[in-house]
Amino acid sequence: MSGRTTPSQTVGPFFSIGFARLERTDLTQGAGADKRITIRGRVLDGDGQPVPDAVLEIWQADSDGRYAHPEDAAGLMAADKFFGFGRVSVNDKGEFRFTTIKPGSVGNPDGAPQAPHLVVSVFMRGLLRRLITRIYFSGEPGNQTDAVLARVPDQRRHTLIAHPTGGSGEILIWDIHLQGDKETAFFEY
């Protein structure tokens, strides 16, 4: 080893000028006939106040559980295939919304398959490093055996699960609580 990772610094209050060109709230390009879902929610601070200056970055597999990446499915990396990346800013009320497809169960080279999930980075003023979290889906049998969910204390596991609202199941709610009784489970990487 000859160097150490450059320290992280906050995105600050004005990141939207730098992040706007890659904003991507519709991830469905290349997803074929897979059913569209919308995930929406709010980002709330330690006072329960909406955070008006946060951005989420999403990374997810396609409906077969494959990532468009050379270490998984290089064949998916063509421009017309499902990409799996989203960049979603909150609005002035701390609300975000993006449209995607539900990923399939993700294989693991040396373990049981993971339950369908999205990985999420959260950036904002006040965060000196990104927060890392995940979105899982309610009612998914694989949640019971997922190795990452199993590491989250029982009483906090629900903070990672998106719930459908209304009857159709096409809109799911998932909020991020930075602090407090409902604090979202964040990961150390």
Binding site: M1, S2, G3, R4, T5, T6, P7, S8, Q9, T10, V11, G12, P13, F14, F15, I17, G18, F19, A20, L22, D45, G46, V51, W59, H69, E71, M77, A79, F83, G84, V106, G107, N108, P109, D110, G111, Q114, H117, V119, S121, M124, G126, L127, L128, R129, R130, L131, A147, V148, R151, V152, L178, Q179, E183, T184, A185, F186, F187, E188, Y189
Partner: protein
């Protein structure tokens, strides 16, 4: 499937803690519960691989995004993006954004009483080359006041955003300038406990990249986390 190696965790002290009380905004936004250690899974060792076509060919030159030339001191910011084992991060997206030479961002909530520059947007994008090298032409950003504490001023800085090869390697940071007297007083810069790591955020004046009659060169090398030699944890 054969096990794939994951990525290394940062060396102690080289990354800021989430809660850094002198940085007031961290107090209500930093997590308070223990972080859950994340194993390496396929979800973290993969990540978005962007195609060069998404970036305009002139997006590396922030001095040519208006009708005329922006005001201020023209500079070249360049460097190499490597991993911890000195392997170049090739063909990888780099995004930057910054204030203009008067210390004002082209952003609706920036109310600093300093002029906007109609010829300066302050946003750049580029890709590293086959050796991990990148280069931007820009204007040296001004320092600006903020409300963290009485008479608080941010040192001159440029925001950098890098992806690298995986979700695990994502990094957003800030580049500073050598000799800036404000660095000693800046809670964001000083949030990094390790002195050498902190100082690695300060660019170096660089004759090699200085373009005669055009622009002074500043070199800023960036290191993304390296790969473990051992297979992923179960």
């Amino acid at each position: 499937m054969k096990p794939l190696p994951g990525y290394r965790r940062p060396a102690p002290g080289t990354q800021p803690e989430y809660l850094h009380p002198p940085y007031v905004s961290s107090r209500k936004r930093a997590p308070t519960q223990p972080l859950v250690p994340l194993p390496d899974t396929l979800s973290e060792i993969t990540g978005p691989i962007f195609r060069r076509e998404i970036v305009a060919v002139n997006a590396f030159d922030l001095t040519r995004q208006g009708k005329g030339e922006p005001l201020g001191e023209r500079i070249v910011v360049s460097g190499q993006v490597l991993d911890e084992d000195s392997r170049p991060i090739r063909e990888s997206l780099v995004e930057i954004w910054q204030a203009n030479s008067a210390g004002r961002y082209l952003h609706k909530i920036d109310q600093h009483d300093a002029p906007l520059d109609p010829n300066f947007v302050g946003v750049g994008q580029t890709f590293t080359d086959g050796e991990g090298r990148y280069r931007f032409f820009t204007i040296r950003p001004g320092a600006y006041p903020w409300r963290n504490h009485p008479n608080a001023w941010r040192p001159q800085h440029i925001h950098f955003s890098l992806f690298g090869p995986a979700f695990a390697t994502r990094l957003v940071t800030q580049m500073y300038f050598p000799g800036d007297p404000l660095l000693d007083f800046d809670p964001i810069f000083n949030s990094v406990p390790d002195t050498a790591a902190r100082n690695s955020l300060i660019s170096k004046f660089d004759w090699t990249s200085t373009v005669p009659d055009i622009a002074l060169g500043f070199r800023f090398d960036i290191i993304l986390c390296g790969r473990n030699a051992t297979p992923m944890e179960k």
